[in-house]
């Protein structure tokens, strides 16, 4: 059974992505019999390239992926380099991991309200400092070059990269490296950058690639914060797929293929940047400079992460305020009155989506965790090195959702697979599994093998050792991985909506549907519910091991 796990896991991920891509590729070249497309043609591409502003759409998608990933990576790396395990550093870390749980859309809504000309920040300084009695007519959100979109993406990518780095760091024994560097006269931050970072980067390269792929093709955040004239490529694709003029679907398919190309191009470009950086820093690593810029780096390292975390939290606070707001005119900092009306009206409508969200999240994450554990345990028992094929695990993270989900529906329909709930769970599994694997694999492989040797030499069988020693020892990372999986599942919009035929309503699909009504008070309510669920998951994940371990000092860390 266990031996089947890797095959199963890869099949589960590769088949849907592959068949989805195929069913997009065919119409992209004119083949879609239901619409009378029986032959192959380049017409969809001609139509696509005739779209006004396509070049800009592609440029913004490409740039927002690279810029936001680079910024987020810089913030995380500088923080890790500058952090010294002080109280402040630990608090910042603790602040960041729950931010990972908050869905992109919720952050985007809150962030938009924070920075809009009539938003919280403008209100805080108006009219006292600015003299603004009316909001200034300034184009901040939806700016044509996607700057606010990039900023929003950074807010979400920082917690993810930080968590991935923190998971990878212990195996590098950074304290020892740093001690060595400092004994050789290096200042701490420079020493970290020169001795730890070069080994850390290869370990978080894959998460960085996932971030780039995500950012080049993101839909929900781009809808809220991204440019509009023209929108990003992914947003255009969505609207073309949904266009009642059905012939647009050929063009949408071609655009989906183009999106895949843009994402791959961005990844390739990043790879080139990596090579370039390696060459350019080769001399710097060994040139003996030990002190230069220490203070500046330290200040930037701490303040950048603190700033991005506080911004994300302020965005949430803004949502909270709006969910309770009565009438609230600019430039008042607080609403004229607070009311529970919005919550009360939403209350009854929350029940079914909440149940569905929990059900789908728990089942898909449980399945994903079981599969990942089975794969890792198999790897351990067969004494095999992590297979190269496991790269395929990350396929759903690297191939843009928008590029294969529409095709996947057609594929599922053709096979006559129509239980919406089951399909949705399977769809979530596609995205949950890689994240669970990403969060768990390293710790799992790193667990001291002597623990299991001791257990087995005490007469305990392999399976029993797995259940009685490995799992309890890994309880903390296991729960964190579970919470990450849950958060990923809860945030899914497109897979839920498309695979569930809209029949499976989750907190996220409801929030998005309501968002089209643009009622910010209701959006506040739903975005908070959406953010609250995974947050509960994270608090449990962090709290349960601590609770279990109140009498076990070595487990509590």
């Amino acid at each position: 059974m266990l031996r089947l796990a890797p095959v199963l896991i890869i099949g589960l991920l590769v088949l849907p992505v592959g068949s989805g891509l195929l069913m997009v590729l065919l119409p992209a070249f004119g083949y879609l019999p239901a619409l009378g497309g029986y032959g192959f043609s380049l017409a969809p591409w001609q139509m696509l390239f005739a779209q006004p502003g396509l070049g800009r759409s592609v440029a913004v998608s490409f740039a927002s992926g690279l810029v936001s990933a680079a910024l987020a990576l810089a913030i995380v790396v500088l923080f890790l380099a500058a952090s010294r395990g002080t109280w402040l550093d630990r608090s910042i870390r603790r602040l960041v991991s729950p931010l990972l749980a908050i869905p992109h859309a919720a952050i985007a809504f809150g962030f938009a309200f924070l920075i809009a000309p009539s938003g919280l920040m403008a209100r805080l300084i108006s009219p006292s400092l600015t003299g603004w009695e009316r909001p200034p007519d300034a184009l901040i959100i939806n700016d044509p070059w996607g700057l606010s979109l990039m900023a929003g993406l950074v807010l979400k990518e920082v917690p993810f990269l930080l968590l991935m780095s923190l998971a990878a760091l212990p195996q590098l024994a950074p304290e020892k490296r740093l001690m060595l560097a400092r004994s050789l006269g290096y200042s701490p931050t420079i020493g970290w950058l020169k001795t730890v970072l070069p080994s850390l980067y290869p370990l978080i390269r894959l998460p960085v690639y996932a971030v780039i792929a995500y950012a080049t093709s993101v839909v929900d955040m781009a809808l809220i914060l991204g440019p509009t004239l023209p929108p990003t490529l992914s947003v255009s694709i969505l609207s073309w797929f949904n266009d009642p003029d059905i012939s647009h679907r050929f063009m949408a398919s071609a655009a989906a293929v183009l999106q895949l190309g843009v994402t791959i191009a961005a990844l390739l470009f990043w790879w080139l940047l990596e090579q370039l950086t390696r060459i350019l820093t080769r001399r710097w690593l060994t040139n003996g400079s030990r002190q230069g810029g220490e203070i500046a780096l330290r200040v930037v390292g701490r303040s950048a992460l603190l700033f991005s975390s506080i911004t994300a939290l302020a965005a949430l606070a803004g949502l909270g305020l709006f969910s309770l707001a009565g009438f609230w005119r600019f430039p008042e900092v607080l609403p004229q009155m607070l009311t529970l009306d919005h919550w009360q009206r939403s209350g009854p409508m929350l029940v079914t989506p909440l149940i569905n969200t929990a059900l789908i999240g728990l089942i898909s994450t449980a399945l994903a965790t079981a599969l990942v554990l089975a794969t890792l345990e198999n790897e351990h028992r067969q004494h095999i090195q992590p297979k190269r094929a496991l790269w395929l695990l990350y396929l759903p993270l690297l191939v843009p959702q928008i590029a294969f989900l529409f095709g996947l529906i057609v594929a599922a329909e053709s096979l006559g697979i129509r239980p919406p709930l089951g399909l949705v769970i399977a769809g979530h599994l596609l995205f949950v599994l890689p994240y669970v694997y990403l969060s768990l694999a390293e710790t799992y492989r790193r667990l001291d093998p002597r623990w299991l040797k001791v257990a087995r030499s005490l007469g305990v069988s392999r399976s029993a050792a797995f259940w009685r020693v490995r799992l309890p020892l890994l309880i903390a990372p296991l729960l964190t991985a579970f919470a990450v999986g849950l958060a990923v599942s809860i945030g899914q919009y497109l897979p839920t909506q498309l695979l569930g035929a809209g029949r499976v309503t989750t907190v996220t699909t409801e929030a998005v549907a309501l968002a089209s009504g643009s009622n910010r008070r209701l959006i506040g309510v739903w975005a908070l519910v959406q953010a609250g669920l995974p947050l509960i998951g994270f608090i449990l994940a962090l709290g349960v091991p601590r609770l279990l371990a109140t009498h076990r000092r070595d487990l509590a860390t």
Binding site: W451, A455, G459
Partner: protein
């Protein structure tokens, strides 16, 4: 101490290592041919990299696939090589005590007891008493001193009723005073239990204290 819990229940069996040869990438690392009688400690000495720990892994059933090995491992009349690690009846003691942090001191000891054992509670408390740790069942292992942890690890090993014991530099992390005390405790307990034991170390004092034959590797 009237009822030693590890009193020879039956006469111990001999652990025989027949023409063992272990190679890595076609290069022979070590070759051993020895028999260890019940109550005897065989010491294998050698610098690091000489393959001492690999030998233990082979005997206990944990050898990594990259190694190739030949030769027989017999306990009495039983061929151990065909058995999975947990069925071999070979106990291990490492340089770290490796007490499971998710279990209490008592839990660690119970973990070693065979499922069918009777009066587990009593056995555990006797074992603790035997090493001067009476009444510490419910303590968190992390709160014990290094020496105390080593003693609990030894008792956990013995409670599991092994047929032979492998010691992987078990004293190297202890300070000098503690090291002598632990040596005395471990070897006396092993002798009393009538178990064949294989000790790998690079410390001559260990070999001397063990009192048995010595093989030098490397």
């Amino acid at each position: 101490m009237t009822t030693s819990l590890c009193a020879p229940l039956s006469l111990g069996q001999t652990l025989r290592l027949e023409h063992i040869s272990i190679a890595l990438a076609g290069r022979e690392l070590l070759a051993v041919d020895a028999a260890i009688a019940a109550g005897e400690v065989l010491t294998v000495m050698g610098p690091s990299g000489s393959g001492k720990s690999t030998l233990l892994a082979y005997i206990a059933g944990f050898l990594d696939r990259e190694f190739t090995a030949s030769g027989g491992v017999w306990l009495g009349e039983r061929d151990l090589l065909g058995l999975p690690a947990e069925k071999r009846g070979i106990g291990l003691l490492f340089q770290d005590p490796l007490l499971f942090p998710h279990l209490s001191v008592g839990g660690n000891l119970r973990f070693g007891l065979p499922r069918s054992s009777k009066e587990k509670h009593q056995q555990v408390s006797q074992a603790l008493e035997q090493v001067g740790l009476a009444g510490l069942e419910s303590r968190d292992p992390a709160t014990l001193s290094g020496g105390q942890q080593s003693r609990v690890a030894l008792m956990r090993l013995l409670l599991s009723k092994p047929k032979a014991v492998l010691l992987d530099e078990p004293f190297s992390k202890l300070d000098t005073a503690l090291r002598q005390e632990m040596r005395a405790l471990v070897f006396s307990q092993l002798r009393e239990a009538g178990l064949p034991a294989l000790l790998v170390t690079h410390d001559h004092a260990d070999a001397k204290a063990a009192g048995g034959p010595v093989i030098e590797l490397g």
